[in-house]
């Protein structure tokens, strides 16, 4: 460990603002690039499962595609 206190980590001899700003502006977009496709997959997946349930209940009750 190079720094000896938390405030030294934060201040970084005057460069803290630049270093932490750079890391924040990296972490946020990276987290989004991972999270957004996961969210998209989950949405599609739920849609697929709902579609399957609709198809299953339609075949059980004997209704056709139009629901009559």
């Amino acid at each position: 460990m190079y720094f000896d206190s938390l405030s030294a980590v934060w201040f970084m001899d005057g460069h803290g603002f630049y270093v932490w700003l750079a890391y924040a502006l990296t972490a946020i977009p990276l987290a989004l690039t991972v999270w957004l496709p996961i969210k998209r997959i989950r949405q599609h997946w739920r849609w697929l499962q709902a579609e399957q349930r609709r198809a299953a209940s339609a075949s059980l009750t004997g209704t056709n595609e139009a629901g009559v």
Binding site: V34, P37, H44
Partner: protein
């Protein structure tokens, strides 16, 4: 060899394989990033000249390195999709473009933040920085071009041509620091001969580069899976998977 390529082109096989891979890659990538950032930010010694501002290197260099490598992945996938008309190659190309754009943007933004305390300016029209900006526009171009076309087969072809033409920029970026008198410093890590960076700073940097490569693979796979689920929503193999889950 050909059987692997054949399998890769099969969406059901790829979907299952990438699912397993993603489940492994996600925790590995997050751990590597956390350890690398901790090491680079808190453990590594400060630079003799730049002090602590140099710690931006642990995100700036990995983002730039993988943004360049990612362009090769995108252009290669574009070439495969153009020549052999393999649908999976087209999906790979489109999955890589937004990730590459984000990484290039990170390299540019962190470079600007690093430039302020080091060079005294947020932005200079330096050869390396300008060619990276062109790389950013190339990535965005591929994303935008695909959206612009109604006919998605034509869109994929146009994107592949654009990404192939754009590869001209890659050696320019690599060589920019040697060809022009540049403010940006040349590479410190060399595969042959001694690196111009001490091992106490080099190891966390290498770890972060590895972490960013994993992150690139992970996000490209995730984008591909999201694309596949939607494109194959009417396919029986996917319905079977969704029904069984």
């Amino acid at each position: 060899m050909w059987s692997i390529i054949h399998k890769m082109g099969s969406p059901p096989w790829f979907f299952r394989f990438s699912g397993t891979l993603v489940r492994w890659l996600l925790p590995v990538t997050i751990s590597l990033l956390l350890v690398g950032a901790f090491w680079g930010l808190l453990v590594a010694p400060p630079d003799f000249r730049q002090g602590n501002s140099y710690r931006i290197i642990y995100i700036h260099v990995p983002a730039a390195v993988v943004a360049l490598a990612g362009y090769y992945v995108m252009a290669l996938a574009g070439a495969v999709s153009l020549i052999w008309r393999i649908k999976m190659a087209d999906i790979t190309m489109r999955a890589a473009a937004p990730v590459g754009a984000v990484l290039t943007a990170i390299a540019l933004v962190t470079g600007a933040i690093w430039g302020k305390p080091t060079w005294g300016a947020w932005w200079v029209w330096d050869a390396r920085i300008t060619s990276m900006l062109i790389l950013f526009f190339l990535y965005l171009g591929v994303v935008a071009l695909f959206q612009a076309y109604e006919n998605k087969t034509a869109a994929a072809r146009a994107c592949a041509v654009l990404s192939l033409v754009g590869t001209v920029n890659i050696p320019i970026i690599y060589k920019s620091v040697d060809w022009w008198y540049s403010l940006h410093q040349p590479a410190s890590i060399k595969f042959t001969g001694e690196s111009a960076i001490d091992s106490s700073m080099l190891y966390p940097l290498l770890l972060m580069i590895l972490a960013f490569y994993c992150l690139f693979a992970l996000t490209v796979l995730l984008n591909m899976r999201a694309d596949l689920v939607w494109a194959h929503r009417e396919s029986s193999w996917l319905k079977q998977l969704a029904g069984g889950a």
